[in-house]
Amino acid sequence: MRVTAPSRPPSAATRGRARPRGRQALLGWLYATPTAVFVVALFAVPLLLVIRMSVSRWPLLTGNQGINAPDNFVKAVNHRFFTDSVVFTVKYTVLATVLLLALGLGLALLVQESSRWNNLLRASFLIPSALGLASASLLFYVLYSPYASPLAPVLDRLGITFLGSPTAALISTTFLIVWRYAGFYMVLMLVGLQGIPADVYEAARADGASRWQTFRKITLPLLRPTLALTTVLCVTGSLLAFEQFYILTKGGPDNSTITVVQLIYMVAFQGQNDLGVAAALSLIVLLALVLINALQLRAFRSEES
């Protein structure tokens, strides 16, 4: 092999690139076929079906009963929990996003220098993110219970509960989410921080900038792409919150912690069993999400220019 290879004419070495176009396209499609099959069968077709379901009467048990547009959308918007769930989801999203981004950045700054101790810290911040959201919710379900919690005696004396009131339930659930995801956002922030050239900091130090000034005038502006990415990720994730509330609060107390996705699940499978209305709700959520993400990206981009 080693003898024959160099003896080939140089034109042969470029044969790979000069493969006939048609053959290349055919091979490309061949390798992309599994992806295409999955994307079409499990993504494109369901997406079209959900549009059709949203304009059809579609009970869970009997299936398609024909077009009834726009009844499902009217029913969805007039659902007694619709407004409450939208307001609650937005409230939760703002709270979770602000806390997660601030903590993610804070933790990243805390362990930014590379040392053994900091590697240990990074790992301990990241371990919760290896757990599933359902496992984490179950863990805190026990931790927050008035009977099994290690904090139970303290809480009993103070007369407070973790999940007893709407505000407490919101804060407790947000704490769980911060615990589970802070490490993830820390890693993203660390990547962003590493992208800031060191000489910018040195120049600032030479000019006598204080730590706070350096942070405000250098770190934050240069971190904007990372902040944009993390904001979009965090807002999207929080708007679609389900497991944490389904497991931890079951929407209670007094239906005060129902998120939009939980409402979709309730309408589809718990009691009402109306897939048509659930499909209409899901489409509303999808459109809202696309719109919100587009607005966020535009906001971050216009700030840049």
């Binding site: 994307v39 863990l139 679609l240 993400n293």
Partner: protein, 303 residues
């Protein structure tokens, strides 16, 4: 003594300019003053680290500890795990179901993203960009929006209440991340490598199998790890697609376990369930930490 010897090393050591340009704050030498200055930092950062570890440690300890109202009333032991083992179809059943879903999803994700990443990185074909964009668009669509029609569709093709159906759905949700990561993994490999193989008479497939596969192995490990963690832990897909207790996955079973015993929640068994759920994930995380972090980072590069 320590202070003296350290400062001596610092004097004789590398000049400051050689210190990596990426290091922003030069680490302070281990002088007595340095230790005094650093102690508040160690105490503070250490307690923050403990906040993250404490819930896990407490759950692990409490799951074998005594508590009224559980199968482990006094003394230490595995009573709670016995409750878990005998719950409905039994924990082995649920573990087997979960492992089946997770391994099938991992195998499918690896296969599809290996071939797909190769196609997107090395070939030109009509519709390539559209297919790639549509694959990434899966990220934009809420889970619930797709699970409702998927519930109907899987019913129509006879995959209702089926673990295979769940694995297929989870594979699809994993495709944006894995296809993207495999594409950039292939693109990072120099083209000369597979072109040389093809000059030597390899087909595109054997070039992929013999030459490129070893080169993209780290990418595959990351993809497989994330597919496993997602599939092992997923709650919503089995919640909607499975309604037979025999076929439930572990997260669903542990979640249902609460409140089954005469309306009283068995917290001990729930703790045991959390430990069983979390253990494989934490072990994998500790073994493959580097790959895990790289997965997050590739997402950040994209932004």
């Amino acid at each position: 003594m320590v202070a003296v010897s350290r400062s001596h090393i610092a004097d004789g050591g590398a000049p400051p300019s050689v210190e990596g340009p990426t290091r922003r704050n030069r680490p302070r030498g281990v002088t007595i003053g340095g230790i005094a200055l650093r102690t508040p930092y160690w105490v503070f950062s250490g307690s923050v680290g403990l906040i993250f570890l404490a819930p896990l440690l407490w759950t692990a300890v409490a799951s074998v500890g005594p508590r009224a109202g559980t199968n482990q009333v006094d003394g230490w032991g595995f009573g709670n795990y016995e409750t878990l083992a005998n719950y409905q179809a039994g924990i082995w059943r649920y573990l087997a179901n979960t492992a089946f879903v997770a391994l099938l999803a991992v195998a499918l994700t690896l296969l599809i993203s290996l071939l797909g990443g190769y196609a997107f990185a090395r070939f030109r074909f009509p519709g390539k960009n559209i297919l790639f964009l549509v694959t990434l668009a899966i990220l934009m669509v809420p889970y619930a929006t797709l699970l409702i029609p998927l519930y109907v569709l899987l019913n129509q093709v006879g995959l209702q209440n089926s673990l295979v159906g769940v694995a297929l759905v989870l594979t699809m949700f994993q495709l944006p991340f894995s296809t993207f990561l495999m594409r950039i993994s292939f693109e990072a490999v120099p083209r000369e490598l597979d072109e040389a193989a093809m000059v030597d008479g390899c087909s595109t497939f054997s070039a992929l199998w013999r030459v490129l596969l070893p080169a993209v192995k780290p990418g595959l490990i990351t993809v497989g790890l994330f597919a496993f963690l997602t599939a092992w832990n997923d709650f919503m897909a089995p919640l909607i697609l499975i309604n037979d207790t025999e076929r439930m996955t572990l997260p669903l079973a542990v979640s249902n376990l609460r409140g089954q015993v005469q309306g009283v929640v068995d917290y001990g068994a729930t703790e045991a369930g959390v430990v069983v759920l979390a253990l494989p994930c934490i072990v994998l995380f500790l073994l493959l930490q580097r790959h895990y972090v790289r997965g997050f980072m590739s997402g950040a590069m994209k932004g």
